[in-house]
Symmetry: C2
Subunit: 166 residues, 2 copies
């Protein structure tokens, strides 16, 4: 019998830093629940915890940015994934620039997307945010995106899974 | 200036065969828009075209199965991705078994998930289906999941992207 965390590692995901800003208040956090949903319009879905500090900023700004991490950027994934934006200015030590929406884009990321929220629904212990991609570019054409399955238990998520399906 | 299809290839996804069944009527199709959203309850999100034959069956059954393809299963991805369930019984030539929900699971897949629909929202030219995972197992513990970015334009999706963001 395989464990539930091992099973879910078979759903392939990337690793991203989601940037949010409202005026001079800004934050960024590591996420893996990002996927494209629609082609025309260009829509992506983002899974996010409503308990997260950034969730408030995301809604104040009605938007967010996605910075795609490369396979070599485990330290950045950890930096933005394991500290709280409530106590640490996580962007102070990492080069970034504001995108067209003002949301922070990591300068060393492989690619960026900028998004405007179009819907937000309840999804168990997370929220599912649907957003339109209004801008974006590849910054480093030959990089390989990081795979979430390669990060092990970096985010401490193993303990969040139930022991059984029922 | 990078193209929009190239940019979106930086959102990492796996490749799956989604199986649906209602009694003796069944179908399966290749999908890449699958991600975990919630830990407790265990919820996944699936992007699906409402024009798709399987979308009707998915709602009749109120559920679906996810078979995770390995990096070696490009032929299966193509088989279930490029034919219409309206004209071909795509499951006739591929070994499968019914899961606990009756939905077809591919025997040669790396892992399986079985899901019950809990919500379904409009998402541009697709629907975003939220579903609870009620069963699942790893079938081949040492396999490597297929990456959507490795399938090139297998699904013909490049022509679906707009030329510009606005």
């Amino acid at each position: 019998m395989s464990s539930i965390p091992e099973l879910f590692r078979h759903l392939t995901a990337g690793v991203y830093v989601i940037g949010v800003a409202n005026g001079e208040r800004r934050d960024a956090f590591t996420a893996s629940a990002v996927m494209q949903v629609s082609f025309s319009p260009l829509l992506v879905a983002l899974g996010i915890s409503a308990a997260h500090e950034s969730y408030t900023l995301l809604h104040e700004a009605d938007g967010f940015a996605i910075s795609v991490l490369s396979a070599q950027q485990q330290e950045l994934a950890k930096h933005f994934g394991t500290q709280s934006g409530r106590t640490v200015d996580k962007l102070a030590s990492t080069p970034w620039r504001p995108g067209v929406t003002g949301a922070p884009l990591l300068r060393d990321a492989l690619a960026h997307f900028e998004c405007r929220v179009v819907n937000d629904i309840e999804a168990g212990d997370h929220r599912l945010v649907l957003a339109r991609v209004i801008d974006g570019a590849i910054a480093r054409p030959n990089g390989q995106p990081m795979l979430y399955a390669q990060t092990g238990n970096l985010d401490g998520s193993e303990s969040l899974y139930p022991a059984t399906f029922s």
